[in-house]
Symmetry: C2
Subunit: 274 residues, 2 copies
């Protein structure tokens, strides 16, 4: 249904590698694209990372991440805005398909979810013209509701779509990460609504039991309960033509040899989605 030519490896899946090592890993395993993280890019240097991925013939499917728009005071808000503009420029130089936005949870000391959501909308509105002029697509990512308080108050794909639709299609889209949205009874309908707005498609499985750190509760495709075939079919039916990026936060996988991980990513992808 989706060929290995559209597989991307998100660097977080092999978190212990440097950007250069992650690029080399992709090349060794014939994975044609990579999702990069800003800290790793900074480690190697932005220009050097851009040159390295180009020399390797890799495509950058995403840069992780900007966002965190929810702050208690103007100074913190301004700092976040400046950092987001920096992230946009990095995404532009890397030629990334999208800059992933994790929008932030409740503002410090606040219990006002509606306020957090207004801050997020305002923050994105503020960033959009800059992103548009830099030719960078912002990907608004809904995170699983269990991260609503502390990481992202955008919890459902439908909310992300509503937000994205306020802005030009070349500047704002949504990120569909199976791990975060698989449970949503309206997922199918919201993926349809996201047509033309899907900035990134990320894959990770929901495994049980959840680990102590719920951020790390993701498994290789097929190790959990998510029906990847059906979700992927709806994403493709919505006209998505980009990469499918495997992003797994999992301590055991991080502790495994990266080549084993890359091989597993490739084979599971082929088995479940080929």
């Amino acid at each position: 249904m989706i060929g290995a030519g559209r597989l991307s490896l998100n660097q977080a899946t092999v978190r212990n590698l440097t950007a250069r090592e992650a690029v080399e890993l992709c090349v060794r395993h014939q994975i044609p694209a990579i999702g990069l993280w800003r800290d790793a890019v900074a480690g190697l240097g932005l220009a050097k990372t851009a040159a390295t991925v180009r020399a390797a013939g890799l495509h950058v499917s995403s840069l992780c991440r900007g966002g965190f728009f929810t702050h208690a005071d103007q100074q913190a808000r301004a700092a976040a805005a400046a950092d987001n503009r920096a992230a946009v420029l990095e995404a532009a130089e890397l030629g990334a398909d999208a800059l992933i936005l994790v929008s932030g949870g409740l503002a410090p000391g606040s219990r006002d979810l509606a306020l957090a959501r207004r801050m997020i909308a305002d923050g994105i509105a503020d960033l959009v013209p800059f992103a548009q002029s830099a030719g960078v697509l912002l990907g608004i990512e809904p995170l699983h509701p269990m991260f609503c308080a502390d990481r992202c108050a955008i919890s459902r794909l439908g909310e992300a779509v509503d937000l994205a639709l306020r802005f030009p299609a070349d500047a704002a889209g949504v990120v569909i990460d199976t791990y975060h949205v698989w449970w949503d009874p309206q997922l199918g309908a919201d993926v349809e609504r996201a047509a033309g707005r899907i900035a990134s498609y990320q894959l990770g499985d929901w495994t049980l039991p959840l680990p102590a750190d719920t951020l790390l509760g993701r498994g290789h495709l097929g190790d959990g309960v998510i029906d990847f075939r059906s979700i992927t079919a709806s994403v493709l039916a919505a006209g998505y033509t980009g990469y499918a990026e495997v992003e797994i936060f999992n301590q055991e996988i991080w502790d495994a040899p990266a080549d084993d991980t890359a091989a597993a990513v490739r084979s599971r992808f082929a088995e479940l989605l080929g």
Copy 2:
């Protein structure tokens, strides 16, 4: 906004107590209602529990719980149906305002969420006539999406409302537990839609960080991020006239003296919702 005369203590908050001890605790702390659990009721005996709560002048705001409708085979389904009918009869004898239904996650070995949701709808449809003739109101409870795979594939209040509306109002309603639904951007609208169908209102706070066992990540009212005043206002505006039941799963609270817990439940309730 809601007086101490409408406070109820769910037995799970003082899990180490027997049903009799929990009843005595409520009396000591002038808490006029209790939410009972079936295992504790069985421990004391159904008739004896009913007599004990009556003698104490307590109201039974809920019985926890029935449900778990999702099974791989007919035999397991039939066993669940029989157990649910038994739960209905227990709720009737206790005079409980509602029998709480936790509907079950994915069927064993299945990744088909739509199938799980059909099984749940079918299971409730099967149980409704029995509940109606016993004079018992079924409370369909949406659980937080992090429990979707293994405990309850009804993740949003809106889904629970849609289900309840298929059946007579005297037999099927919804449970609004702040811990499970606080994050939902459509909560306000769905509470409005639930008017006349709110079978139970439960309170527990969302505290951070989540503990290793996410089932136990609930705090005393005010220890977390939930805006109880605003959610309670919407529940009352929807015409709910029943009890507000404090249900907290938390190992530290279980380890604390039950009288301290009951006192905290009462004082936080008065402070945040009085």
